[in-house]
């Protein structure tokens, strides 16, 4: 087919395509479009670092400026993935350093990042601008010192909620005096004190600084010093929000906030002393994003503060807000898109606060734009879920955690099948769902029938049989990620839907009833899947084939079995026979 446009015209058209989906679609049209597109793609997103190898990426896309990688499965957040599992970024950095000297951005999530990796980044990319490390681990403040010292044009340094070994706060002083390019700095996860003078000078010389998230060690009394040097801030994460109650501290704080006319987002608030909340009243009406999930303030100060933020779109808060607070929220914050309520005392079986399903129902009924919910509570009813579903057919993300596993509808003692069924039936745009409480196979039938746009599903302590899993795998057309723990799902559903797994990013199953034999079979049948068995108690073949594996992680890949597995992970592939083939253990770093 003759080309209708010259290459550079097509390239110009493609430059307006920013979404991966669009670029992927374009590259499938014909060979010449594939060629043009691959030469001009600048941003790469890799949702599973083991789905592809650096070499394959580099071969296809020779001129990339931004790379985003994700490593460990989501359940790693809850300690379900053992230490040493993998997700090492170092081999990627080595390859990227060689191939993309003009790389500007690296964003990593749930990966193991070492100081060596950080040093290599800081020295390999002359125009490096953005480093985002979300929920990563493995590095120390020495690695951060390399980044600070060597990245001349650094715009963004975001440490997310990473686990950093804090050797000293001195690393911040490594930013040279002529570094004025910072736009975003998030050090909230760091434990130790950074040099305040260095921080103050850094903030003062970066006129484009829009996001500043401090760590707990920055005292409240010193916050005004930073705010008056950065009145242009759009997002602020405070340090510890407590001090002795003194009027001059309060007035300094209030005055400093008064100067911040662009402030839209607030976070931090560790150890909050409620008496200091009113210091922020001057900014409340402009606030659209509020993260109070570390703030142990209680009502009435808590709800009073939140209600001042009439333009709130996103609220993260502890369950100290209680039902009464959520009712007030529903009345005052009509623009609310997202609500997350975290448990203040997750391990206490008894409720320590008056937060029930009523709070969520109130917000669902009162906030017409509510589309994203994460809610921890101790009781739920089908009636409440039905009410929520009917009020909010525009719901996109719905994650409910009832703290006691298998808790039934507290009013009728029935399973919550009907309630969650109503959610998937009414909320036709639902993309993410996490369920809890007492659930039978019936809820999975509802999900398979109705949840056609569902992309991610999390299940725990639910279901009766393989039929449940089968409903999901056979019915959910858009499913990309499925994570399951402690459910009686086994071999039949998995093997019957083996080809479905190639259309998904990944499947996680732990403490279920999938046998070693079935895992082997799956691995042998599906060469484009990595079927990884995680057994910490010993090799899976030390017992009979019918023995269930502890954990199973299945993901599609074009890179073959990985070569950096620790001793407790086995790949089921064609070579697996009675003597288990194990690839040599080699850590990536």
């Amino acid at each position: 087919m003759a080309q209708s446009f010259p290459e550079d015209v097509l390239e110009h058209v493609f430059s307006f395509l920013n979404y991966d989906k669009d670029r992927n679609a374009v590259s499938l049209v014909c060979k010449s479009w594939y060629e043009i597109e691959r030469l001009c793609r600048r941003r790469i997103f890799i949702g599973n670092c083991y789905a592809v190898s650096p070499e394959i990426v580099i071969r296809r896309f020779p001129d990339v400026r931004a790379v985003e990688l994700k490593g460990k499965p989501h359940f790693a957040d809850f300690n379900l993935v053992p230490e040493g599992w993998g997700g090492y970024v170092y081999p990627w950095i080595v390859s990227l350093a060689r191939a993309y000297p003009w790389l500007e951005e690296i964003k990593l999530k749930r990966m193991v990042v070492t100081d060596e990796s950080l040093e290599l980044i800081s020295k390999s990319f002359k125009n490096f601008k953005v480093l985002v490390l979300l929920s990563c681990e493995g590095f120390t403040t020495d690695g951060l010192a390399s980044i600070a010292a060597n990245c001349r044009n650094l715009r963004e340094l975001d440490l997310g909620e990473s686990e950093v070994e804090d050797l000293s706060g001195h690393w911040l002083s490594h930013f040279p005096d002529n570094c004025t390019s910072l736009v975003s700095l998030n050090i909230s996860c760091l434990g130790s004190e950074v040099s305040f003078c260095a921080l103050e000078r850094l903030v003062a010389r970066c006129p484009n600084l829009k996001t500043l998230r401090l760590n707990r060690a920055v005292p409240l009394e010193k916050l005004p010093n930073l705010l008056c040097r950065a009145p242009q801030l759009v997002e602020l994460g405070t340090g510890v929000y407590s001090a002795e109650i003194q009027s001059d501290i309060f007035s300094n704080l209030a005055e400093a906030f008064l100067g911040c006319k662009q402030l839209k987002g607030l976070s931090g608030f560790w150890d909050v002393v409620p008496a200091y909340l009113p210091a922020m009243y001057s900014v409340c009406s402009r606030i659209t994003s509020l993260n109070l999930s570390y703030a142990t303030a209680q009502n009435p100060e808590l709800v009073h503060f939140v209600s001042q933020c009439s333009n709130l779109q996103r609220l993260w808060v502890l369950d100290y807000i209680e039902d009464a607070g959520l009712e007030a929220l529903a009345a005052s914050c009509k623009d609310l898109h997202e609500l997350r309520v975290f448990p203040s005392d997750p391990f206490d079986a008894e409720a320590n606060v008056s937060l029930t399903e009523q709070g969520l129902v109130a917000v669902s009924e009162g906030c017409p734009k509510l589309q994203s919910v994460l809610y921890f509570c101790r009781q739920m009813s089908n009636a409440a879920l039905v009410a929520i579903a009917r009020s909010r057919p525009n719901m996109i993300r719905f994650r409910l955690c009832i703290i006691e596993p298998r808790a039934p509808d507290y009013l009728t003692l029935e399973p919550l099948d009907t309630g969650f069924g109503a959610i998937v039936e009414n909320c036709k745009e639902l993309r993410r769902l996490s369920m809890s409480g007492l659930l039978t196979d019936r809820v999975f039938e509802y999900i398979g029938t109705h949840a056609k746009k569902l992309e991610m599903l999390s299940i725990a302590f639910a279901g009766d049989s393989d039929l449940g899993l089968h409903h999901v795998l056979s019915g959910c057309e858009s499913l990309r990620k499925l994570e399951i723990r402690d459910c009686p799902f086994g071999d039949k559903a998995l093997l019957a839907n083996a080809t479905k797994l190639e259309t998904m990013r990944s499947l996680w199953m732990s403490s279920c009833s999938v046998s070693f034999g079935a895992c082997k079979l799956l691995g042998q049948k599906m060469p484009r899947l990595n079927v990884e068995v995680i057994n910490e108690r010993g090799p899976p073949d030390s017992g009979p084939e019918s023995c269930p594996v502890e954990k199973l992680y299945v993901y599609r890949t074009i890179a073959g079995p990985r070569v950096d597995m620790p001793g407790f992970v086995w790949t089921m592939d064609e070579q697996v026979s009675s003597s288990l083939s194990r690839v040599t253990e080699r850590r990536g770093d």
């Binding site: 957040d77 379900l80 909620e161 142990t296």
Partner: protein, 193 residues
């Protein structure tokens, strides 16, 4: 009453009838049934004490459940959180003692936390008083040795270190509590708020 008995039921229970109208909610809240499970105050006291005595220190926990990120769990652990019970309220609160630097800050916080209570000057001392009936509340705490003491007698930092939990007791029951200095609860005397 011996210090031991202060952990027992309030006088209303032992006198065979509920003198105060106990509802599910803090005194002053509207009478609303919060959940299908009604818990009388005596039940709450009993269950809390029973829990403290019979249950192991931490209930056997399922790994990774509830799904709270380790990051968040670690951050919440910081600080010294103690439970605060108020006579007449079925729900306990928790305070982080480490965020306060003096008894004054703490009592201000108590006043804020339990909105029915206000701080009044009683004979030149700041006291917590129920705004509905004028009843005085005395802050008491259980120390490391399991003894119930009056709050305020030891240096602040020592108090933070040894306090295991707090209880705002009706002053009529605080007679005989361990304290460094003898103190007589003042009833019916002139109060200025």
């Amino acid at each position: 009453m011996s210090p031991e008995n202060t952990r027992d039921l309030p006088e209303s229970e032992t006198s065979g009838g509920l003198k105060t109208d106990l509802t599910l909610g803090l005194p002053g809240d509207s009478q609303v049934q919060k959940s299908g499970i009604k818990r009388g105050f005596s039940d709450a006291v009993h269950s809390n004490d029973a829990k403290a005595e019979s249950q192991p220190p931490s209930k056997a926990q399922v790994v990774g459940w509830p799904p709270v990120r380790t990051y968040r769990k670690n951050l919440m652990k910081n600080g010294k959180y103690v439970k605060v019970a108020v006579d007449g309220a079925p729900y306990l609160r928790k305070v982080n003692l480490e965020i306060y630097s003096s008894y004054q800050d703490l009592s201000t916080a108590m006043g804020d936390m339990f909105t029915c209570l206000i701080i009044c000057n009683v004979l030149n001392e700041r006291k917590l008083v129920d705004s509905a009936n004028g009843e005085e509340y005395v802050p008491t705490y259980e120390d490391k040795d399991g003894d119930w003491m009056l709050v305020g007698d030891v240096p602040w930092k020592m108090f933070v270190e040894s306090c295991k939990r707090l209880r705002l007791m009706k002053s009529s029951e605080a007679i005989g509590l361990g304290s460094a200095a003898p103190s007589t609860p003042s009833k019916g005397s002139s109060t200025s708020c």
